[in-house]
Amino acid sequence: MMIELTHNPIDVARVLASAESRSAGAVVLFLGTTREESEGRRTASLDYECYPEMAESELSRLEKEARQRWSLIECSVVHRLGHLEIGEVSVAIAVSSAHRQPAFEAGQWIIDRIKHVVPIWKRENWADGESQWVHPGLETPPTTAGE
């Protein structure tokens, strides 16, 4: 089990290794990666910030709840913070189970819940120079660089 928030590039091999087990028949790894294009607009880079104490405790709660819902062997979640270039990994989730169904379902459930409840936010730094916090359901004003 590995629950982490990190300003360093995510060591995907390490996250994956943390889910390995001799009793596992299935490992599902999910990577969220920063895309060059978002709703037709070009992104140059992204910045992630969080409410640190709460983000970590919410990730731990999700891990515990996933283990209650499914029979899992290992379950690790690492989320990146700070400045990310295009193509970098923003989140890595690795889940193992005896059979494949729980690993797939839990992996999908965890990333869905992260996107709803974990206090982490991203700012798109658009290629045209504008930056903008992303808050689903809210129209947000552009920020000036470095704000």
């Binding site: 910030e49 409410y51 989140v91 709803h116 409840v117 808050h135």
Partner: protein
């Protein structure tokens, strides 16, 4: 009572600071706090509807009481992952 609210992302951007001090009556609720925040930072008032609040790093609803010395955080719609 004096209550400090942590601000993140667009709320921090608009307020220009990562923490704001509010003056609230005794037995104020999170709903009262939400309204006071909008009065103190009018530029935020139009965005507060979908924001959630956390008390000591747990989500609470508008009916929850604001205890003295609690850590309150204003949580805009999240966009991690």
């Amino acid at each position: 009572m004096r209550t400090s609210v942590r601000l993140f992302a667009v709320a921090r951007q608009i307020a220009g600071c990562d923490r704001v001090e509010l003056e609230l009556p005794e037995h104020a609720t999170i709903g009262d706090l939400r309204q006071q925040l909008g009065r103190d930072i009018p530029a935020l008032s139009g965005l507060l509807g979908p924001m959630l609040f956390a008390l000591d790093a747990r989500y609470v609803n508008d009916a929850s009481l604001v205890p003295p010395n609690a850590e309150i955080a204003c949580i805009p719609p999240v966009s991690g992952g």
